[in-house]
Amino acid sequence: MGLRGEAAIAGFFELPAARRPTGQPEFILEQWARLAAAAVADAGLDVTQVDGLVTCGVMESQIFVPSTVTEYLGLHVNYAEIVDLGGASAAAMVWRAAAAIELGICQAVVCAIPGNYFTPTSDQRPRDLGDALYFGASSFRYGSPQAEFEIPYGYLGQNGPYAQVAQMYAAAYGYDERAMAKIVVDQRVNANDTPGAVFCDKPVTIDDVLASPVIASPLHMLEIVMPCMGGSAVVITSCELARRGRNRPVWIKGFGERVPYKSPVYAENPLQTPMVTVANTAFGMAGVGPTDMDMVSIYDCYTITALLTLEDAGFCDKGKGMQFVTDHDLTFRGDFPMNTAGGQLGYGQPGNAGGMHHVCDAARQLMGRAGTTQIADCNRAFVSGNGGVLSEQEALVLEGD
């Protein structure tokens, strides 16, 4: 069952995270083209070799999105689809691309997530910002369960729902806020050595994290990602193209996906995240386990997300995550290198491209291109993706050639 591990990440491109737009604003379609060109060039491929494409939503078109993107790029692809799994989209795009390649329907697939939301505007056609901006990832349309049963009670956005899960964790297993802050601090060390990270120049201490305001108890501001602009893309290719490329091929050996609900309000046990099944599937497919990983890139929109993922993916026992992060050095110099490019807590979150940050982080390490933060002898990596509120989850097991 599953992938044979014969498709690889052959190239990637990640923009620096920026707090404010820089330069001339461009549409998402235009950003898509630039990201694709950069990732294909990074792989050492010719654009004419690209015959597959996976996209997220684009602001310029609500419908017919994949064909709109392929037409804009001028590609004639054998495989085109849209993935709508929030922060889990990036990892979901990667395995879908790998599966399409292993099926033999295409040889090179570009997956891009533009993340500069300040696109050109016109008074003559004001932008439809959609529900996402005002209702925080919930739909306010008539008939939407979120509009009817969640939004009226303030259950929207992310801070409140994730904080509720953290409160449940505290009630079930206890809570060490210094351990939670240490997750931020270790990743910040990595960000401080990562060009392009939004917090590249700002060190932080545990006391700084705990002194930042509580946004929704028990979560402090610095335990919550910084929204940024950016964007990133990866190119997944067949074995043949990967071996002819510029980079060490990063084989996609295993994946898992599970999408049980939109809102964890309805979860039987929100503390038992879908990651339990997801990681188990991914490791089983790859024929390896958590202790075989040389680095991990864990989706970290909040500290609680990283904590639950470490537990549920099997890196430590359930309820012992706070002890685990206290006992281990999570920096690139440490005994458990995690989010070596800063994670989203340190690099910044350019919308759904935040998920792609983790794919790029692992690819960069496995290709031996991480510069100051490079881990010696890095051959296997685990990447997690997370969308909604712990409700759409993905894992990838990647291996360097």
Binding site: A147, F149, P152, G154, V214, I215, A216, Y266
Partner: protein, 131 residues
């Protein structure tokens, strides 16, 4: 404000009378929330409406110190909660008239019906049950 749908109308009509009516699936032997046309998980076509007491247990909460959205700018500190009815289903609500320091996961809670006559809607908030 919520807009009732043809499927959910009995739930919202119940709240206006300060009653809580949920769907029950005999084949599932369980209550269902939110209202649906078929039972979730089995897609059984046997949903029927039953009244419940509304008593429940606090599953989780958070005290939002910043507005969760611009529409809730006046609501902070805002106690967002998930409650589990004694009959089983969980749902999102708000805690009102409670001492924030006394809130604990697992505490018993009871309904507070909040009428919004202008919108012809009653929302279902919760508060601590008096022992």
């Amino acid at each position: 404000m919520p807009l009732a749908t043809p499927t959910s109308r009995p739930y919202w009509d119940g709240l206006r009378r300060h009653e809580i009516w949920l769907q029950y699936s005999p084949s599932l032997d369980g209550y269902v929330f939110y209202p649906r046309v078929l039972a979730p998980g089995t897609l059984a076509d046997d949903l029927q409406w039953r009244q419940i007491s509304g008593k429940g247990t606090l599953v989780s909460f958070t005290i939002a110190q910043r507005p969760v959205a611009p529409q809730f700018a006046d609501a902070v500190p805002h106690i967002l909660a998930v409650v589990q009815w004694d009959e089983g289903p969980r749902f999102a609500t708000e805690l009102v008239n409670v001492d924030p320091a006394a809130i604990a996961v697992g505490m018993w809670v009871v309904p507070v019906f909040v009428d919004y006559p202008d919108d012809d809607v009653t929302l279902l908030h919760y508060t601590a049950a008096t022992p």
